[in-house]
């Protein structure tokens, strides 16, 4: 490299800061932990009440399902994978943004992730919990299903088939849930110590004290902690890519036209991140307003999330176009029919709505003005939430309802119990998010402290 290069460094572009000026370690600690120690506003309990009612609906419909059998759902031949697999894939995809924010953006040293990683990780956990419920319930008798899912010596002397993507899925999702929980808890330990030290009564001190494992902020502890945290991020990165890849294998390894496609793994992973960022935006925009966290979750965060949504949305849109191209290029009768049936058949409305929600509406994010408007971002995020659900509906239902043999064609109609279960898991997800906000710091306090000016080490004093 020559010293007198003609390419002078460009001035750094002016960006909104990742934390509003004027904050110190002390104000950051107070602002975030006071949300937990303070009283919750009236709207909070009302919203929690609504979510809790939906959870009761979920319990009622699960009770009915276990009592009667999966006939209460609309799944039947030829569509054996209805709402339960659509919702399973939808929820697990939503979870992926949490891991992306906490692990991949950490490795890429994107410090804007700091104020959103904690609740994005919580979102991951709760979304995976909602997702995992569906395949278990789909077995109809979950208490008997254990030997189909996990390899253990049982009285029938039979073992699972490890050549099946469905068993890969069991390992992928349970590993993902476990590692996400570990990652989240390790990130919480120093903040739980802060909560312990700020506790206002004995009960709080005891509970946060036990959960913080006696953390005292020792330099040697921090040294090992940082090492473990970074390694967990490094492990979670390939893990999160593997999880949705394996979910896509559930489809791609099958031979049904519309499923049997090599584009599925990358397109599913991009779709998962797309859906997840939309859900983070859906939650973050109201939360920052309602809890007055604009200093910590700044416009910079929202703009960046808008950009990630745009990029992953383009990959997903590309996936839709490649599916059309592959169907034509294959020259295969069944593939071509599948595509024509998707676009023009009885379920065409779902495909066109999908293109509107995931393909066209997100293009508005090219405009800076849209990325800088909370309302517009929130609206686009809602379109994406709906669009990603439709995507799984299109893949599951339109592929299965007319496959190779016209004699076995049919239609799918979800029942009231399908809807109650789906809406119920949305209620469960929201109720868990509300409980998390009530009892744990929703922003990582110790990582926010590293962003304030006093955290910069001046070597001159050494």
């Amino acid at each position: 490299m020559s010293v007198d290069s003609p390419h002078a460094p460009l001035p750094a572009p002016v960006r909104p800061p990742v934390i509003a000026p004027g904050h110190s370690a002390s104000t950051v600690t107070e602002r975030i932990s006071n949300i937990v120690f303070g009283r919750m506003p009236r709207w909070f309990w009302l919203a929690f009440g609504v979510a809790f009612m939906l959870v009761l609906g979920l319990l009622a419909s699960i009770g009915k399902l276990l009592f009667v059998g999966i006939g209460v759902w609309g799944v039947t031949q030829p569509i054996g994978w209805g709402f339960d697999i659509i919702n399973f894939v939808w929820w697990i995809g939503i979870g992926h943004a949490g891991t992306l924010i906490s692990a991949i953006l950490l490795l890429l040293r994107q410090e804007w992730r700091t104020s959103i990683n904690r609740f994005a990780e919580a979102m991951t956990l709760f979304a995976v919990a909602c997702a995992a419920m569906y395949p278990l319930l789909h077995t109809g008798r979950p208490w008997l299903a254990v030997y189909w899912l996990f390899p253990y010596p049982n009285s029938m002397n039979i073992w699972p088939n490890f050549r099946s993507p469905l068993i890969w899925d069991v390992f992928a999702v349970s590993t993902y849930a476990t590692v996400s929980l570990l990652f989240w808890f390790v990130g919480l330990i120093p903040d739980l110590a802060t909560m312990r030290d700020r506790a206002r009564n004995r009960a709080q001190k005891l509970i946060y004290g036990v959960l913080s494992l006696g953390w005292r902020g020792s330099a040697i502890h921090w040294h090992n902690y940082e090492s473990a945290y970074l390694l967990l991020a490094g492990l979670s990165t390939p893990l999160v890519l593997s999880v949705h890849t394996i979910v896509s294998f559930d489809f791609a390894v099958g031979q049904v036209p519309g499923w049997h496609a090599t584009i599925f793994p990358p397109y599913f992973v991009a779709g998962a991140v797309f859906a997840g960022f939309a859900m983070v935006l859906t939650l973050a925009i109201p939360l920052r307003r309602l809890f007055h966290l604009e200093d910590f979750i700044t416009m910079r965060h929202l703009q960046n999330m808008g950009k990630v949504t745009l990029v992953t949305g383009l990959i997903v849109f590309y996936g839709y176009l490649v599916e059309i191209f592959t169907a034509w290029y294959s020259g295969n009768l069944y593939e071509m029919f599948m595509m024509r049936n998707r676009v023009l058949g009885p379920y065409a409305w779902s495909w066109w709505l999908l293109i509107l929600c995931n393909g066209l509406v997100p293009q508005l994010l090219w405009l800076r003005r849209v990325r800088s408007s909370e309302l517009a971002l929130w609206g686009i995020a809602m379109f994406v939430n709906v669009g990603m659900w439709l995507e799984r509906f299109v893949i599951v239902v339109t592929s299965l309802h007319r496959d190779f043999l016209p004699a076995s064609w049919g239609f799918y109609k979800p029942t009231v119990f399908d809807w109650a279960t789906f809406v119920g898991t949305i209620g469960l997800f929201l109720a868990l998010i509300f409980l998390f906000i009530r009892f744990l710091p929703m922003i990582s306090i110790f990582e926010m402290r590293t962003l304030v000016p006093e955290a910069k080490i001046k070597e001159s004093q050494g």
Binding site: S24, P151, R163, E226
Partner: protein, 182 residues
């Protein structure tokens, strides 16, 4: 240096600092002065701090490597046992040990065991959970999880001397030096 003077009535001497920079500087000088039983406490991780105290390598990465290898072995072993030994089935005419199909599960168990090793390894190396520790006796120590920085020279250090060590700590310009009961 004088003969060590450590009664059972003292855990060590705790100096409090205003800023992270001061704490790092103090840690450097404490290490240079020959103290080895020293710990520093801060409300967020400071990369330079453990180095300043002479801790360079964390054992956690090796534990994670071990965990990952154990996970890979467990995943491969489990699938070999199930597919070849315990329940040999002809599936699509493939050999019993059709290993490419066994990569995904082996990959997941590798990650799972490595993650467990990272978390529990870190806790064991740090000797956590440890609900009580003498530094919690210091009245202002609760601020270590908020915005204050502490350095503790422990009485076990061979160079420790109640008076001289106090004088040494005061020379580092802390805001306060207190004795910590064991």
């Amino acid at each position: 240096m004088s003969t060590p003077n450590h009664g059972p009535e003292l855990h060590g001497l705790l100096a409090e600092f205003d800023s992270a920079s001061q704490l790092v500087a103090a840690a450097h000088r404490t290490h240079a002065a020959g103290f080895r039983k020293v710990d520093a406490y801060s409300p967020f991780p400071i990369e330079e701090l453990a180095e300043a105290l002479g801790h360079h390598h964390s054992p956690v990465p090796l534990l994670v490597l071990g965990g990952g290898l154990a996970g890979a072995a467990a995943g491969i072993g489990l699938q070999y046992f199930v597919s070849v030994v315990a329940y040999p089935l002809n599936i699509g005419g493939k050999p019993l040990w059709s290993w490419p199909a066994f990569i995904p599960v082996a990959f997941e168990t590798t990650i799972l065991f490595a993650a467990f090793a990272a978390v529990f390894g870190m806790l064991i190396v740090n000797r956590l959970p440890q609900p009580h520790h003498p530094v919690f006796n210091a009245p202002r120590f609760a601020l270590a999880s908020r915005d204050r920085y502490f350095l503790c020279i422990e009485a076990e250090d061979p160079h420790f001397d109640r008076e001289r060590t106090r004088q040494f700590l005061l020379s580092l310009s802390p805001t306060e030096v207190t004795e910590v009961a064991p």
